[in-house]
């Protein structure tokens, strides 16, 4: 079990290394070099160009530069942003949690929603509803994301006024605040992490103890936790700040969820259509199990495996969707950083954000692998 995970971890490192190499040569292959980007910066006199070149090691042979680059990345040194004049690493680390929470929330919700809907469509197949959901699912999946995000923003923020229009916080709420938005946000992350930890632990205990009606109990616990954190935040006096961030987050999460759940839904449906023909599903029906149990515990449980496997595809897709959504909503995460810096020729920042995106994808992939291992006993032993 650990051997499997270690192998996968090793592979992930190799893949990351190849990825880094590709990034390096990509940057090398572009016309001009790093220093030429400084030409855009009027503050730097031309005569110091050579000095800058040397300071970047650009006068060294290529293999040397390559080793330096890999070494630097390994130490968390991604260079300095031309624009922000801060280490790229620091900027990205500050923004990573925002992307993470957007992505993680959307991934969990869309996976759950897509899975539930997909299995229901497959179970009641051959009806008009199937065509309808397939077609609308596909178009939702391939919808022009920026347009969709804009329409959503117009409708929910502008027309209905439910959510603020983009950005991370509303300045008027934070005027005179003694706390930083980031520290509030980190506290919020902590709250969410603790709550999910408790829920997960409770779920595992219930599984062990074979508690019936787990769904109801979990829902109850979830409501209790939500209430508890609400009260805790309210009493700390920072409640309105947290609420402000939360409302800014809601619509981007909804948008990323909406564009990625359709993929999971269609995938689950296809996987279900294969598993419903398996003999163990027939056997489960023969055993006189209720329809819902046959569907969930037997057909859908196995259909989950290929869905988790193709999570790799979904990760790339959801990250793309995330970048677009962050940009439309001016949500200051990795995606917006990537697009901004690429647009303003801030090369270290753009490449750094890209490397982060790659690492993000790798980690998500690894988590999917681990999840697969938990779900499939054939791999575990």
């Amino acid at each position: 079990m650990t051997a499997y995970l270690l192998t996968r971890l090793g592979q992930a490192f190799i893949v990351f290394f190849i990825f880094l190499t590709m990034v390096f040569f990509l940057v090398q292959a572009q016309p001009g070099d790093f220093s030429s980007f400084y030409a855009l910066d009027p503050n730097i006199p031309p005569e110091s160009r050579a000095q800058i070149r040397a300071s970047f090691g650009l006068d060294q042979p290529m293999w040397r530069q390559y080793l330096t680059y890999v070494g630097n990345v390994a130490q968390g040194d991604l260079g300095t942003s031309f624009q922000l004049r801060r280490p790229v690493w620091d900027v990205l680390m500050e923004r990573l949690p925002r992307t993470f929470i957007l992505f993680a929330t959307a991934a969990v919700i869309s996976f759950y929603l897509g899975f539930v809907l997909g299995k229901m469509i497959a179970w009641r197949r051959g009806q008009a509803i199937e065509y309808l959901t397939t077609i609308s699912g596909v178009y939702l999946f391939t919808v022009f994301t920026p347009w969709f995000a804009l329409v959503m923003m117009w409708f929910f923020s502008f027309k209905l006024g439910w959510f603020p229009i983009g950005k991370f916080i509303s300045p008027q709420v934070w005027r005179g605040a003694e706390v930083e938005a980031n520290s509030i946000f980190n506290l919020m992350l902590l709250t969410a992490a603790i709550a999910s930890g408790i829920l997960l632990a409770a779920y595992l205990v219930m599984l062990r103890r074979r508690v019936k009606r787990r769904g109801m109990l979990l829902t109850g616990m979830l409501s209790a936790l939500v209430l508890a954190s609400y009260l805790a935040w309210d009493m700390s006096g920072n409640g309105k700040f947290a609420w402000d961030i939360l409302t800014h987050m809601a619509l981007p999460v909804i948008v990323v969820t909406a564009i990625s759940f359709a993929g999971t839904m269609l995938l689950t449906r296809n996987a279900m259509l294969e598993t419903v023909r398996e003999d163990y599903v027939l056997a489960a029906r023969a055993k006189g199990l209720p329809d819902r149990v046959v569907r969930d515990r037997h057909a859908a449980r196995n259909a989950m495996l290929p869905v988790v496997t193709s999570f790799v595809f979904s990760v790339a897709f959801a990250l793309d969707g995330g970048i677009i959504t962050e940009t439309i909503f001016s949500w200051p995460g990795i995606g917006l950083t990537l697009l901004d810096s690429a647009g303003s020729s801030d090369l270290p920042m753009a490449v750094g954000a890209f490397v982060f995106t790659g690492v993000f994808a790798l980690v998500a992939h690894f988590v999917a692998d681990a999840l697969y291992m938990v779900l499939d006993p054939r791999i575990r032993t």
Binding site: G126, E278, A286, K287, G288, P377
Partner: protein, 323 residues
């Protein structure tokens, strides 16, 4: 005929396909006494599994029982719906599937798969259910340790036994065993068949054995039904049928298994193919392949000859029937 464990009358099934309807089971009638074992034998594709599936009402989406009744202690299974049907399944009639290897779900422990069947029909405390699974495993000759394992950790023979144990979990009145041993080697096959027989004796349940292998059927069943092109062509007590088959098809089947009659005869294989199930002729379906065929065989539906215990549908029987 009350007192029967099962009474099937004029059962017909169709499969609707793109190429038109297929008739895998036509006008099948039989009864099963408590504790009796019925052997259902016939070539591959003649509709044996379909009969079994119809009894459990597990036909695929495109399959439908078009006529007939399946009476089980006064309840007509054909009429049941939803929860009533779920209640009958496994508790009163269970099944060992043809693809027994695949009828265990790979992602759940075998014990959980047995217990879920018990839980679906009875409210017993967990400890008692676990105790029962242990006894079941003892019964089929499996190590209790295996209960904690997943199906992929079992050998083929072990899985087969586990599936049999699962079929017995709710003490059903009838167990259908569809090719229970086909995928196993001869020695294991023999041992499992013996065990099944002794379990059947202990538990006093009725069994329906399905096989294309006459030798297997001969070993385990009291009564034998021969199926051809979706119809029962002959039925009777095993020893009688084996000694004096009425229908030429039964005769040909038996002739292909020398050991059944003890005498060494030249192996005779049937020439030709069974008829297409999409248009069953209104005459004897076996006529085109039959060595004893008469002109009437191609023209009329054969009459039932013999008596209630041993009968066949034939125009020109092998044995002269005294009636």
């Amino acid at each position: 005929m009350s007192g029967d464990a099962l009474n099937v009358k004029n059962l017909s099934v169709v499969y609707r396909t793109e190429a038109g309807p297929v008739h895998p089971v036509t006008n099948v009638s039989f009864n099963l006494r408590p504790g009796e074992s019925l052997g259902l034998v016939g070539e591959s594709g003649c509709g044996k599994t379909t009969v079994a599936m119809a009894l459990l009402r597990l036909l695929p989406d495109n399959g439908e029982i078009v006529s007939g009744s399946i009476d089980m202690g006064g309840v007509d299974i054909v009429e049941l719906e939803g929860a009533e049907l779920e209640d009958i399944r496994w508790r009163r009639i269970s099944m060992v599937f043809q693809a027994a290897m695949n009828s265990l779900n790979p992602v759940h422990k075998v014990r959980d798969q047995i217990i879920e069947a018990i839980d679906a029909h009875e409210t017993v405390p967990r400890a008692e259910a676990e105790e029962r699974t242990r006894r079941l495993f003892d019964l089929v000759g499996l190590d209790e340790q295996l209960l904690e394992r997943y199906p992929h950790e079992y050998s083929g023979g072990m899985r087969q036994r586990a599936v049999i144990a699962m079929a017995l979990a709710c003490n059903p009145e009838i167990v259908i065993a569809d090719e229970p041993t086909t995928a196993l080697d001869v020695i294991v096959q023999d041992r499992i068949l013996k065990e099944l027989q002794s379990i059947q004796d202990q538990k006093e349940m009725a069994m329906i054995y399905i096989s294309h292998d006459v030798a297997v059927i001969a070993e385990v069943s009291d009564t034998i039904a021969v199926m051809y092109a979706g119809q029962f062509v002959e039925k009777g007590p095993s020893d009688v049928v084996f000694a004096r088959p009425i229908h030429p098809y039964t005769d040909a089947l038996l002739a292909s298994v020398p050991s059944v009659r003890g005498e060494r005869k030249e192996l005779r294989f049937l020439a030709g193919e069974p008829p297409s199930l999409s248009d069953i002729p209104a005459s004897c379906p076996f006529a085109p392949r039959c060595s004893r065929a008469l002109p009437v065989c191609d023209a009329e539906i054969p009459p039932l000859i013999g008596d209630d215990t041993h009968w066949a549908a034939c125009h020109n029987p092998v044995e002269a029937i005294l009636s």
